[in-house]
Structure formats: structure tokens, C-alpha cells
């Protein structure tokens, strides 16, 4: 049985936010809700790294553990989903989630939280697959169409991989083995020489006295 997972390759992520845009567009996510976000560490500093973060569909999901109305469930493919009709908008899942995946649309006045919304791995929710009701509540169900999440399929550098965890791991392992490490990542050692010095750079000229 496939266990669906995401993996974002920090070496390839260029912070284009294509994944964010794809998700927003695909599911018509309301303003203020960010199912997927790109987090950049040391932004602007050489060596910055970016990672695309959304619901990680945890095997032992803390959101599911803390929900007071038990509105979460995990499908046979490992996708963590919830029933918005049961959700009371308490926000406990947001407190519990280490990734900040649950989002609240601020649907009403006076700080009312509204129903929780989060990444569904493009697997919709507990409504008829492909129906209008499912689209309005949870967004498009791409898995029921034999497709992968929009964010992963739209990733410009294929940094964000999504799908069966075993296959994702195989793709990523092959990638890491091929590209090497250190100065050989992306051929930097070939272009700039080991230790950052260009290859074939002339030695400092001796001064003539």
C-alpha cells in the first residue's frame, strides 16, 4: 500500500513559490490561508536554504491525537484528512502541529477562527470524490484522478517531491548519489575549483627585484 509523503530537497529549492501558487490556484484557497509556505533560513545570506512546508501527513499525527471532536482520519494511503462538518475551530491541532499546517480562515468577526483548513495532499475530503461539495470544502481531489499533488507536479526544479514514500526516497537517493557533495554539488567544484578557487588560476606572480 502506498504511503504518501512529501520531501523538499533544500539543495534545489529556489524559493520561487510555484508550489504555493499552484496550491492556491488549484483549490481556490481563500485569502489568509496558506496551505503551503516556503520557509527560507538565512534569507539573503550566501548559503541560504529554502524548504516548502505544508502538512507532512504524519504517520502518528499529533493533530489527530489532540482533536477534541475526533474529526481527523488517515486514509489507507497515509493521507491525514479531516471532516470540516465536525470541526469546531478550537485551534488545538494548530498548537499540536510542529509544522503549523492547520490554517484558520478568520471566517467571522471578533476573531472567530472558522473551520480548520490544511493541505489535503490533493486528496479532497469525506465527500463524494470530484463533487462540487468536495471542491468547495476541501479543494480538488487530484489523487482520485490518478494525479499527484499540484505543488509537487508544478515544482520548477523538482525540489518538492510528492507521492509514494518508497519511490520518493528512491528518487532522492539517486539524486544525492549522482550529484555528490561539497564542492561537487551541481558541478561547483568543476566550475570554481575545490575550495572555491577557479581551476587553472595563475599563481601569484613573483615580484622582480
Amino acid at each position: 500500500m502506498a504511503r504518501m509523503k512529501f520531501l523538499c530537497d533544500a539543495e534545489r529549492c529556489i524559493e520561487c513559490n510555484g508550489c504555493v501558487t499552484a496550491c492556491k490556484q488549484e483549490h481556490e484557497v481563500p485569502w489568509g490561508v496558506n496551505r503551503r509556505r516556503v520557509v527560507t533560513i538565512n534569507d539573503g545570506v550566501p548559503g541560504e536554504r529554502s524548504i516548502s512546508v505544508a502538512c507532512m501527513h504524519c504517520s502518528d499525527a499529533p493533530c489527530m491525537a489532540v482533536c477534541p471532536v475526533d474529526c481527523f482520519y488517515r486514509t489507507d494511503e497515509g493521507v491525514v484528512l479531516h471532516d470540516k462538518d465536525l470541526c469546531i475551530g478550537c485551534g488545538y491541532c494548530l498548537y499540536a502541529c510542529p509544522f503549523g499546517a492547520p490554517q484558520f480562515p478568520q471566517a467571522g468577526a471578533f476573531g472567530m477562527r472558522g473551520k480548520m483548513d490544511k493541505c489535503t495532499f490533493c486528496a479532497g475530503g469525506p465527500e463524494k470524490d470530484g463533487s462540487e461539495a468536495e471542491f468547495k470544502k476541501y479543494g480538488r481531489n487530484r489523487l482520485a484522478e490518478g494525479k499527484l499533488p499540484a505543488c509537487a507536479e508544478m515544482c520548477s526544479t523538482k525540489a518538492l517531491l510528492g507521492g509514494d514514500g518508497d519511490v520518493v526516497a528512491d528518487i532522492y537517493r539517486n539524486r544525492v548519489l549522482k550529484r555528490g557533495k561539497g564542492a561537487e554539488v551541481w558541478g561547483w567544484g568543476t566550475a570554481y575549483g575545490p575550495g572555491g578557487k577557479p581551476q587553472g588560476a595563475p599563481a601569484a606572480a613573483a615580484t622582480k627585484g
Binding site: Y73, T75, G130, A144, E145, G146, K178
Partner: protein
């Protein structure tokens, strides 16, 4: 479905299809094996080493 204490509405498996108007010929509704192979094929589209290796 692994639901534990889940008290909401039941959900269906993705390979059971549903409204197929956007699925096209990707897989046969109700056939898990064809869904698995459609997903596997899509996954290799994320791996450029199948082209350049």
C-alpha cells in the same frame, strides 16, 4: 480507512474514482492496480534521471 476514533463521514478510496470528468484515461475507476500504475508513472515524471541517466 485507519480512523481510530474518527466520528465524521466515511470517505472513499481514491482508486474508486468518483466524478471522472478530469481523470481522462489515467486509470480505470475501481481498479486499484491501474491507479497504482498511473501514480507510479506520474512519480517518474518528477525524476529527470530517467531521461538523462
Amino acid at each position: 480507512m485507519q480512523s481510530g476514533k474518527y466520528r465524521g463521514k466515511p470517505d472513499t478510496h481514491p482508486w474508486q474514482g468518483g466524478d471522472q470528468k478530469f481523470a481522462g484515461e489515467a486509470f480505470k475507476s475501481g481498479d486499484k492496480a491501474s491507479w497504482d500504475s498511473a501514480i507510479a508513472k506520474r512519480m517518474q515524471a518528477q525524476n529527470e534521471y530517467v531521461r538523462i541517466q
